[in-house]
């Protein structure tokens, strides 16, 4: 009889311990979740407060009863935000497209074709992965200036194209396609190019999509290179636009309008992320870094 109560009390205390541990875990995770989400909430909130309401609050309020879209109008009219968006879109689409073409061709050569010097060439490619961007950006700046490509899309795009890591990722994926498929296609008289486009890329579509998305994120957020190479506001990307807004602003300390611009800049990527979050997280965990 005594033994049973003993057993019950042990079980009960274990249950309580488990439950407190679980609660503590959830509290911890929620706290971090709040820290992550709060800046997003704050920018959204500030962007719908009117200018006078925002500046009237010495102690900031956590909500607003009179939301307004006035700031968004201001953000798109007082500074050429739409222009920055268009520039970023052109830059992102072109860079990603050229990157894909270069990467697919190189990955195909490394994975499917046999040629002299293949291993040496691949080793050199891999070793280039360790070169930090900071080291090469100086000469690239001089090169692009010498080519008179400052303040042009070419100047923005060309040095941003290369990504050794993506070549490596795609090559690994291409190599998983069985050789028999290639031989069968050869027997049927399919050309290499056709085989690449009609067989390899469709099979490896998940990886191709992953590197596309990662590159799009990288392009959308790029700041350092565009800042070096453009000083004409007509070629600013959103990051530079945001920084200009921060430095010179809307002529006055118009923080709500600033926040509206910030929301507008953040939304496209957040939407992209919400749609593709599995693919993006998978791609990043396979070796993407944020340098």
């Amino acid at each position: 009889m005594e033994k049973r109560t003993d057993f019950e009390s042990i079980e009960r205390s274990a249950r309580i311990r488990r439950r407190t541990l679980k609660t503590v875990t959830y509290v911890l995770l929620t706290v971090w979740g709040l820290i992550v989400l709060f800046p997003f909430y704050w920018m959204l909130l500030s962007s719908v407060k009117s200018y006078s309401a925002y500046n009237g609050e010495y102690i900031p309020k956590f909500f607003t009863l009179a939301p307004t879209l006035e700031n968004y109008r201001e953000a798109f009219t007082a500074v050429p935000l739409a222009r920055y968006f268009l520039n970023t879109l052109i830059f992102t689409v072109c860079t990603t497209a050229v990157m894909l073409a270069v990467t697919v061709l190189a990955a195909f050569a490394f994975s499917r074709l046999s040629f002299r010097g293949k291993n040496a060439a691949f080793a050199i490619f891999l070793s280039l992965m360790m070169i930090p961007a900071e080291l090469v950006i100086i000469t690239n700046f001089v090169t692009i200036t010498d080519w008179h490509l400052r303040n042009t899309f070419w100047g923005l795009i060309l040095p941003s194209v290369t990504s050794v890591f993506y070549i490596y990722l795609l090559k690994e994926n291409f190599e998983q396609i069985p050789d028999e498929l290639y031989k069968a296609a050869k027997v049927d008289g399919t050309s290499d190019m056709k085989y690449l486009l009609k067989v390899m890329i469709p099979i490896c579509r998940p990886t191709v999509i992953t590197i596309t998305i990662l590159k799009v994120i990288e392009c959308w957020n790029s700041y350092v290179w565009p800042r070096l190479i453009t000083d004409d506001a007509n070629y600013f990307l959103v990051s530079n636009g945001i920084q200009t807004i921060r430095e010179s602003g809307f002529g006055r300390e118009n923080i709500p309008a600033m926040m509206a611009a910030v929301v507008a800049v953040s939304v496209p990527l957040i939407v992209l992320f919400l749609i593709f979050h599995k693919k993006i997280m998978d791609g990043v965990s396979r070796g993407g870094t944020k340098g």
Binding site: L28, W32, E134, V265, L272
Partner: protein, 296 residues
């Protein structure tokens, strides 16, 4: 065979061209620049060859301040972010309901524009004539004094810088650690549980050793990333980081290259190579320690 050789190189040609012009050539060139004394970009002339650029950079108070800032940032954020990420990942791994939601939310900072969100952080921490700002409100609630984190004392600015850096690097670390934790073989845990091993002991004796390669990987990439900090600081303190006293080594390189004090690619190259040397040394030391430290 000859023809197929040619064809293969044709497929590689675009990649080789791009890498050659924008990576290999600059890599060689940056060394040359760093040894050319008194380089004038307008007339393309050089006085001589030597170590002067390095000595100039190493004696520049702005550079020394940048090194100090960067070192403080590295020393604080790398261990702290890795530790918190480990804590959060262990928490994430132990729950079932809402796990995916939490994971998605935690990853959000990775995909946002750091310049844009940095602006929000500035607003949250900044103290102006109109308002003390959100964070100061919190401090006041707990009975503290308002501090201007953006234009105020050095430690306050450093705090914001570290806080924002951790906020930005967390998603990557949490992601890597959760997948590392999830891939630990369940049988080890079952075996330990049969033996009646305590939770803490299981964590330190099984989980930690099993994921230690990933932790070391994160520490190394964390070091490299933190040493290259730049755009987060621009977002918080504006483009003139020297004026704010919060410049980083990379910021110094870019300032030397371009901007108000720019036009000195030689100094920029020397500073970039010094940075590269520091990062390379620390990475090698890390790798050596790692090779000794990993025990299964």
């Amino acid at each position: 065979m000859k023809q197929s050789n040619l064809k293969a190189w044709l497929y590689l040609l675009p990649a080789i061209l791009f890498l050659g012009v924008f990576m290999v050539y600059p890599l060689i060139d940056v060394f040359i620049y760093s040894f050319e004394e008194g380089y004038n970009s307008a007339s393309q002339t050089v006085f001589g060859v030597g170590w002067y650029n390095y000595s100039y950079v190493l004696h520049d108070p702005y550079f020394l301040r940048a090194v100090k800032n960067t070192l403080i940032l590295v020393v604080i954020t790398v261990p702290l972010s890795t530790g918190i990420a480990l804590l959060i990942s262990v928490g994430l791994n132990s729950i079932k309901p809402l796990k995916e939601l939490y994971q998605t939310v935690f990853f959000l900072p990775y995909v946002t524009n750091t310049l844009a969100v940095g602006l929000v952080f500035m607003i949250l921490f900044k103290k102006t004539a109109y308002t003390d700002g959100m964070v100061n409100l919190l401090i006041n609630w707990f009975g503290g004094e308002s501090v201007d984190f953006i234009d105020g004392p050095y430690w306050a600015k450093m705090f914001v810088m570290c806080f924002y850096t951790i906020w930005v690097v967390m998603p990557f670390k949490i992601l890597i650690l959760t997948s590392a934790l999830a891939s630990v073989d369940e049988t080890y845990y079952n075996a330990a549980r049969v033996d009646g091993t305590g939770k803490w002991r299981i964590f330190t004796r099984i989980t930690l050793p099993m994921i230690s390669p990933m932790i070391f990987y994160l520490v190394i990439t964390g070091f490299i990333g933190a040493f290259k900090a730049y755009s987060d600081e621009v977002a918080l303190f504006g483009t003139n980081l020297n004026a704010a006293g919060m410049n980083t080594i990379v910021g110094y390189v870019y300032d030397m290259l371009y901007g108000d004090s720019g036009g000195y690619p030689s100094y920029a190259s020397a500073a970039a190579l010094i940075l590269f040397a520091i990062v390379l040394t620390i990475t090698c030391v890390n790798l050596l320690v790692t090779r000794k430290g990993i025990r299964y």
